[in-house]
């Protein structure tokens, strides 16, 4: 289990160590509509500057409102990857989650900066 990747199965708080939130596609039981309390959770994820990755299993997974606020697509299905590349851009599509960049908010430099800021320095 990778502590830096969190699969969104419930709307409970995302652990502090997480860098990437993996949102299961609707075909795999993931969220479809952006409704409360999911919106609040997404706002929290966004405020923390984390990667938001749609795990798309089928082409239909690319359509729902939740998919439209994900900024990366992860898939192993060639047809889904091709369409996702056209819409999200080829750099935003991956077949391996370890390829994703460290979010800017979670780089060592930024974490040190934030820690110093919290101490009022």
């Amino acid at each position: 289990m990778n502590r830096r990747i969190h699969t969104l199965l419930t709307t409970s708080k995302i652990p502090d160590t997480v860098q990437t939130v993996l949102v299961p596609g609707a075909s795999a039981g993931g969220p479809d509509d952006l409704v409360d309390p999911l919106i609040d959770l997404f706002i929290d994820i966004e405020r923390r500057g984390l990667n938001i990755v749609l795990h798309a299993h089928t082409l239909d997974d690319l359509e729902p409102p939740v998919a439209r606020v994900c900024r990366y697509v992860y898939s192993s299905d060639p047809g889904t990857l091709e369409v996702a590349s056209q819409r999200w851009g080829r750099e935003q599509v991956c077949t391996d989650l370890s390829e994703l960049p460290v979010p800017l908010s979670r780089t060592l430099r930024r974490r040190i900066y934030n820690a110093l800021k919290r101490r009022g320095r």
Binding site: I39, I43, L50, Q86
Partner: protein
């Protein structure tokens, strides 16, 4: 279609563009520059207008990208005079001074304008995560059945999805049908070209609206069917946008620096003489405007309206969106501007009027934080314009003649990573978008323009 008149008077806002060109007998008047051009003899590029389009918001003070074609300014009357144009002004907005601290007149004016715009129409809100579109939608919702209202949101390509999330919250609180339109990476070039034609190549602001307008056309194929509520001018006449920044320097210098701010760091993009010429071109027209309102209590608002809102931002609703729907811009109506400028600048500062007004319209929405208030730093997501797809297209437009000669050697020789870093800065992105627009303009008109001496910018 253009028509010929002897005298033409613009309205007080000047937001809906009207263009004129002198003929031997009278004035040719039209709603777009391209409508007039077939009848303009000896088409000549207006180099100052072009420089202002690239490095500011758009051609300032009634210029266009062509000499002899003018955009009618607020309160302006133009008269034909033997093949020339005589211009006179009676702009009522500049005579409005603060007289009250009562916000009720402003609220009543906004409500009346929205009511009048939405009656008997399907209503479409271009809903962002900010105050202006939220206020217009909430007022429309009080007057219209929810089934006749729809909200659309897209990414304004600022590297965050907070706009989409907050807009969704607003629509759900109001029970309005809402759709997020995701801009596709592979349609960047098409979006840029569509926007360029719609605004007569005069600005590169708000290209990101194109996917939303395309979706609007799918929902309402007949442009007369729906009215779009647009927040143009809200940040100025209700909010506190473009207040003079604190710190050293004269007010004149600060306001002029605002007009040329996209040239900060321009050496990554342009050669030194080009930067100097662009700066001169902007200042030559902006300084007259800034000086005119230097002692006005709302001088920062009037200056920003004439140098930024009108030349650039107004063209998105009134050039692009109007192709798909009727357009309503309540915040630049006379009654709203009159009421807004009757309040002192300190009441507008820090957007403090918005929650006060929203409290009267929809108390729950008054306490919902805007996207801007929650935006993370650093911005977490790559912007569409920094994608490899967009960079390839921008390079194909900009790294060509005649623009090539204007570019800094680092940009000419730099690879995609140099372009990406430049596009990640506010000024760099603005200049590259402007240069792409200039390239599209040149491709469109190179056969027709008799004179376009780009070397002038290198001297």
């Amino acid at each position: 279609m253009p028509r010929t008149v002897n005298l033409f008077g613009g309205d007080q806002s000047g937001a809906a563009p009207r263009f004129v060109s002198p003929l031997d007998q009278g004035l040719l008047v039209g709603e777009s520059v391209s409508d007039l051009l077939p009848q303009v003899q000896g088409l000549t590029a207006d180099l100052n207008g072009l420089a202002q389009m690239v490095a500011a918001s758009g051609p300032i003070g009634g210029r266009t990208l062509f000499e002899g074609v003018y955009r009618v300014q607020p309160g302006e009357t133009l008269t034909a005079d033997r093949g020339k144009v005589r211009r006179s002004f009676n702009w009522e907005w500049e005579s409005i001074s603060p007289t009250t601290r009562d916000v009720s007149t402003l609220l009543d004016a906004i409500i009346a304008e929205v009511d009048s715009a939405v009656s008997a129409h399907q209503v479409v809100s271009m809903l962002s995560g900010g105050w202006d579109s939220r206020m217009l939608l909430a007022i429309a919702d009080r007057r219209q059945a929810a089934s006749r209202i729809r909200a659309l949101t897209t990414s304004s390509d600022t590297g965050t999805i907070m706009e989409e999330l907050v807009a969704t919250q607003v629509a759900q609180m109001l029970g309005i049908t809402h759709e997020i339109v995701m801009p596709h990476r592979n349609s960047f070039s098409e979006d840029l070209a569509t926007f360029a034609e719609a605004v007569d190549f005069q600005t590169s602001f708000h290209v990101w609206l194109v996917p939303l307008v395309r979706r609007l056309g799918e929902i309402h194929p007949d442009p007369r069917e729906a009215v779009v509520l647009d927040g143009l001018g809200g940040g100025l006449f209700v909010g506190g946008a473009f207040s003079d920044p604190p710190g050293a320097g004269t007010v004149m210098d600060k306001r002029l620096a605002g007009a040329t701010r996209y040239l900060e760091g321009a050496e990554r993009v342009l050669k030194g003489p080009v930067i100097a010429n662009f700066s001169e071109a902007i200042q030559s027209d902006a300084s007259d405007i800034v000086r005119r309102y230097l002692d006005h209590p709302h001088g920062h608002i009037l200056s920003a309206y004439l140098t930024r809102t009108l030349p650039g931002i107004s063209l998105a609703p009134h050039g692009l969106v109007r192709q798909a729907a009727r357009i309503a811009t309540p915040f630049v109506s006379n009654s709203v501007v009159q009421a807004g400028l009757s309040l002192p600048p300190e009441d507008h500062a820090k957007d403090r009027l918005y929650p006060l007004l929203m409290e009267q319209i929809h108390p729950e929405l008054a306490s919902l934080p805007t996207a801007q208030a929650q935006v993370p730093w650093p911005r977490p997501h790559p912007r569409r314009i920094t994608s490899i797809e967009a960079i390839r297209h921008l390079r194909s437009l900009i790294l060509t003649d005649p623009l090539h000669a204007l570019l800094a050697p680092e940009l000419q020789e730099g690879g995609p990573s140099y372009w990406r870093r430049t596009l990640s800065t506010t000024g760099g992105q603005h200049l590259l978008r402007g240069l792409a627009m200039l390239s599209l303009w040149w491709r469109r008109y190179q056969e027709e323009v008799a004179a376009f001496d780009i070397e002038t910018w290198l001297r």
